[in-house]
Structure formats: structure tokens, C-alpha cells
Symmetry: C3
Subunit: 211 residues, 3 copies
Amino acid sequence: MIANLLYWFELLAVAVFALTGAIVAAQNKMDPVAYVILAVVTGIGGGTIRDALLSTPAFWLSDPADLLMCAAVAIVVFVSRATFVELERNPGPWRVLPWADAIGLALFAVVGAERALVAGAHPISAIVLGTVTATFGGVVRDVFIGQTTLIVKREIYITAAMLAASVYVLIYYVLGNAVLAALLGFAAGFCLRAAAVLFKWTLPTVEGWKK
Amino acid sequence: MIANLLYWFELLAVAVFALTGAIVAAQNKMDPVAYVILAVVTGIGGGTIRDALLSTPAFWLSDPADLLMCAAVAIVVFVSRATFVELERNPGPWRVLPWADAIGLALFAVVGAERALVAGAHPISAIVLGTVTATFGGVVRDVFIGQTTLIVKREIYITAAMLAASVYVLIYYVLGNAVLAALLGFAAGFCLRAAAVLFKWTLPTVEGWKK
Amino acid sequence: MIANLLYWFELLAVAVFALTGAIVAAQNKMDPVAYVILAVVTGIGGGTIRDALLSTPAFWLSDPADLLMCAAVAIVVFVSRATFVELERNPGPWRVLPWADAIGLALFAVVGAERALVAGAHPISAIVLGTVTATFGGVVRDVFIGQTTLIVKREIYITAAMLAASVYVLIYYVLGNAVLAALLGFAAGFCLRAAAVLFKWTLPTVEGWKK
């Protein structure tokens, strides 16, 4: 039942990431096919790169539920694009997207690290793979549309994914309890990202750290 | 014999895609090594990414025919670059490249979808892999030279690859005839792309679809 | 013992490539997390892509020594970034980085080609994989930060990697001596790159080759 719950949570995280891809398409006034491509790339890109690094077939090859979810999200956003662009520009009290994205980020980081450990990766490598799972979909999306990638921005985004994956791996190795590790990892990543969104925290640049 | 024919067709498609890569090098006045790299990346990039997603070794590892074809195309274009750049600028009655490219696009989409089905992928995932095979070589080429990728352009290009792969997979599942499916898939993708080139069809943007 | 020596040499080459990534972070005044990411991507990116093409798990999954080396380099550069940026701007008699980078380039090209041959690749494909191992870490770094990639520049860089891999494969097939092949391949690649740095050699563009 817990595996089943995780399946639905993961599908939800894919949907949220697909949503951020489709909204980028809406903001840039792209054609409907570009909505679908950006939703798919953002939604499943990170997990796909993780699978290539683990040398296992991409997770959506045998079960296309994630692909269909991305396409469905793209179509919904396309049909009601005026609403989505307006919401993004003027979020009012409803700023849902950053929160949903923070959930997806923390969830993907934990799931990616777990998959890597199951595949026999070293704990430190599993932290890297969790971070890749959570963030590389967004990086590929940005590269495809020629936008500055996450890596250059000072937002605490990749850092939050690293934290989620690190806490998961650490707790799992210290206490041996995967469920507790997943919950604490998720909580740590989500809280850090949420705090960054709420309080507009950014990482200091070189200047900020000047001696 | 049909497998043999397919081998030569695929080599031809690789050559055509390599040609588009080498011509980009000529247009940007690059050095000879860049001709070879862009020809190779464009020619075999899509199939290589497909193989990584399927978790099989890249198709050119054991048989370097495709690599050599790309290198040969790059050398021919480099030696007669003045002619190629002039032809691109002022194609006259010889506008061969877009037609050859349309053949390559439809062929790669069908071959990619077929490989994915053989590897046990779900039909919907096979359509995605066919599209990736046909288009990601060009996307990587554009990313490498810092040019706007196909995804942002409104050309009916990725759409034609999707159609070819979809028709192949659909006919194959409905009629169970791989050869007929390949022919119809190829024809559908080629005709849509050819029509887009001939009649300058583009996908409407958000504005075009405004309610 | 030779395998052991190679292990340490490879770790050194990873460190040198990580250094170039971290210095790019310093030059662009990025945050500390970006130092780590760029060091990791540049240090292990090429070998990781090689492994994906060979369809074997990424080489750092079971042994995180290379990951830790990249992180350590990133931290050292971050802590003493003022020195590194100054050294880059005004290298004086100490221009160490291009030489270290030339060593890494030639070493990675030879190691990549060797791994490909061991995995059963065709000699020509092994040359391509050696070149990919040596250069794609830097290409991905440049793509991630939105900078012009190596491919567009006329520097003799990719060419030197190609030469190192080609000499290794050729000597290995002609004489059957892997150690001699590795030494000569390394020497050829390093000397060409060193000459390019010393004498500011560049590849001619189309203009330069005009008939």
C-alpha cells in the first residue's frame, strides 16, 4: 500500500513539474506542440537522466502513465492559458505553483536517491542522483528554450534537492528505516525550499562572501 | 532483403541529417573539425539518445558505417562549401535539402518507434522514442552552437515526426503488418512535412488560437 | 600496479577538469553551490556520457572518489577564489591551468578510448568515445551556463583529444601493446594541445581555407 501511495505521489510530482513546463510555453506564446514537449521534458526529464546514469531503461518505457499525465497537463494549460499566464503575472493570494513545485522537488529528490540506493549506488552517489532527478528536468527545459538555467540563478533550489536527498540517505543509513527517512528527507527539502520562496532567501554570491 | 534495404535507407537518412549539420557549420564559417562534429552530432544524435533511453549500447558502437558516413559528408561539404552556402542562399530549382530532410525525418521516426517496440516499450512510449530519434539530433546541434532550438520554432517539424511514429504504431497494432505500418507511417510523416515546406505551414501560436 | 597508477592519474585528471569548472564559477561570481555543480559536471561529465553511450552504469556510482574530489576542488577554489580569479586574469609566469588541462584532456581521451575497446566497440567508435570522454564535460558546462561551447571556438582542443584517442587505438591495433599505445597517445594529444596553447595555434575557418 505504501508503494501504491508512492506511485500516485510520484505521478502528482510529474504533473506539477509538467505544469511548470507548460506555463513556460504559455508565457513565451508557443504553439500547442511546444506545450506538450516542454511539459514532457520538464516532467520526466530528471528521472530519465537518472535512469540513463543507472543504465536502466527509462521509467516511462513500460508504463506511459507519466507521459499521458504530462500531455494532459499541457492540454489543460493550453486550453486555459489566459488564466495561467494571468495567475503567474498577478498571483494574488493564490500563489499555488511555487508550493506545488517545492513538493515535487523534495519528492523527486527522495525518490531518486532511493532508486539509486536500490540499484546499488554508493550513498554519496545516491545523493547526487537524487539531486539530478529533482532538478535536471528543469535544466533541460531551460536549455531547450535558450533560457538561463537554474545553475546560474542564486535561488535555493538545487540546494533544497541536495538537502532532501542527503537527509534521506543519512537517516536511512543511521536508522535503517526507509519510510522515516523518506518523510524526514521530504520535509527537510520542502521546508528549505518553502522558506526560500516565502522569505526570498538566495545563496550569497562571491561578493556576498567577501572576506 | 527488407532488413538490408532498411539498413541502406537508414544510412541515407543519417547522411541527410549529417548534411544539415555540416551546412550549419558552413553558414557559420566554422573550422573543419566543427564540420565533422556537427555532422556527427546531427546525424547520429537522435538515435544515440534513443539507445541511451532504451539502455542499449549506441547503435554505432559495433558498426561505424554511420560515423564514417557523417565524416564523409562533412568533408564533402567542407571541400565544396562555397557551393553549398550559395545553394542555401539561392536555391533556385534545386531546393533539395528540405525534401531530403523530410525523408530522413519520417524514416527516423518510423525506425525509432520500431526499435522501441522491439525492445518491449509501450506503444505510447514508442511514439515518444520515434519522435526523439527523428528530432533530438537537430536539437543537440542547435544547443551546441547556441542557436534557438526546433522546439521554439513554429515549424511543423516535430509534429511530422510524431505523426509518422503514431501512424506506424497504430497500424502495426491494428493490422499487425510491420511493413505496411512502416510505409504508411513514413508516407504520413513525409507528406505532412512536405506540405509544411511547400505551403509554409506553421503551427499557430497562442495568439493565433485566441478565443 | 599500472592499473593502480592509472586510477590515481584519472583522479588527477578529474580534479583538473573540476578546477576549470570551479574557476568559471569564480569568474562569473556564482554562489557556492554553483561552484560544486560546475566542478562536478566538468570533472565527470565526459566520462558519464561515455558510460551512458556504452550502456554501463556511470563510473562514479559505486566509487564516489571522483565526486568527492570535484567537491573538494570546488571548496578550495571557493575559499581562495580571489587568488584564482587574479591568477586567471594576470597569470604571470605561473600559467598552470592550461597545462594541467592539456594533461587531463590527453589522459581522458586515452582512457575513454581504452574503456570503449574493452567494452567491445569498433576502433573508430572507440576514437569517438575517447573524444567524447575528454571534451563533453566542458561542453555540458558551457551549455549549462549559456556560454558558447568549445565546438564553435577555433581552438585546437577537440582536435587534440581526437589525436590522442586515434594514436592510442592505432598503436594498440598495430603493435598490440596497450601501455605503449597509452603513452604515445597521451604524448601526441598533450603535445598538440600544448603547442596550440604556446603558439596560439587555431584551426583556420572557411575564410582561411578559401581557394
